[in-house]
């Protein structure tokens, strides 16, 4: 049994699909700051069989929940303050996401225009379809590093 200590202030992201925690770690930009992070992979879960968990010691106003919702809105977000859970956040699909994913359409202007933000707009909430703001191509993950 692995023991990881409590955090004083920050987030516990629970019910992450097993194997997805590193991708979330990267997309939340946690590799670029000095926050203390615990990545728990393949933990046992009654609900999911196996799951990942991320514990992040940080200021609770700094996490981009929109990105998290886009990646997987079934993740449970526990907000921790003074070592206790003070809130559980509901994740809602963001209307727009900026510079999280890239448009793979070779005919899209984003393939040649320098410095252009990659923006995707929620086109179909029910089926969780995002389309590129410029060329309207549906987002489909291509590589392993994609979400």
């Amino acid at each position: 049994m692995l023991n990881i200590g409590k955090i004083e202030e920050g987030f516990v992201l629970d019910h992450i699909k097993a194997g997805k925690s590193l991708s979330i770690y990267k997309h939340l930009g946690l590799d670029k700051n000095a926050d203390t992070v615990a990545i728990i992979k393949n933990a046992k879960s009654a609900k999911m069989g196996r799951k990942d968990i991320l514990k992040v010691e940080c200021d609770i106003n700094t996490l981009d929940l929109d990105v998290l919702a886009f990646i997987d809105h079934n993740i449970t977000v526990n907000v921790i303050k003074d070592g206790e859970i003070v809130d559980k956040k509901e994740l809602v699909l963001p209307k727009e996401i900026r510079n999280v994913i890239k448009c793979h359409n070779p005919r899209c202007i984003t393939s040649i225009e320098q410095g252009l933000p990659h923006i995707f707009v929620l086109a179909d909430e029910e089926n969780e379809v995002y389309r590129c703001k410029y060329c309207e191509e549906k987002y489909a993950p291509k590589a392993e590093s994609d979400i």
Partner: protein, 310 residues
Amino acid sequence: MRHLMNPLDFSVEELDKLFDLAESISADPAKYAHVCDGKTLATCFYEPSTRTRLSFESAMIHLGGQVLGFSEASSSSAAKGESVSDTIRVISCYADICAMRHPKEGAPMVAASKSGIPVINAGDGGHQHPTQTLTDLMTIRALKGRLGNFTIGLCGDLKFGRTVHSLINALIRYEGIKFIFISPPELRIPDYITDKLIESGIEYEEVIKLEVSIGDLDILYMTRVQRERFFNEEDYVRLKDFYILTNEKLQLAREDMLVLHPLPRVNEISVEVDDDPRAVYFKQAQYGVYVRMALIMTLLGLVSDTDTTP
């Protein structure tokens, strides 16, 4: 500031006003001959399209304005690697309005976001070509007297045809329209469009032969069936004649049916059909100029209340 990126950027009411203005222009072009005196249109064409570019230039000249621009990327600073954002910032210093065609989808939208002048999307790759759709709607309205309550047949390449997809999206907003899609199975209308029609409760049919349904149509919108779209030569040879409009097939059609085509026509409409009063594709090109004149005036804020009073 207003731009035109997509035919749906204008509401049905705004389109009505635009078409009222275009009709006023067609009825009395002299009245509008100096509306754009002192104004300049920049035609920034990163890929050649003689017809669309000349139509814009003709529109501006008929309004009394001037035109400048380039007709292919190699004769612009894009060849030196300049971004669309930089180009439009510079063009904004030279002109009052810009019509942009670009092979990359979304390029005019990027231009609009950085521009100091109104930008019109004159075609961006396989994505949008809104002024063609406005031309099609204007032609139908002017010659049928209404936009709505008709059966329209769209014939040819319905899978890749950008003009067809845009026209359907624009027509969905009007009442009482029935669509008949006439195409080879390889080039049938995409599911996402038929799904949208089902969702909106709009009636449609899919048929393979033009003769089968031509008698039911108020409007026939022809497009080209290109050889390279077929998987094999045998299928192309077998199917291509189904999609060529001849006088013989036209005999099966109603007396007041209209034949539209976005042009250029290659061989999908036999030249013998040109003399039939139902063939309106050259009139359509003329309406294309009137509707672009109305659009330039609208985006430049030069429309007065008397201009759109029927």
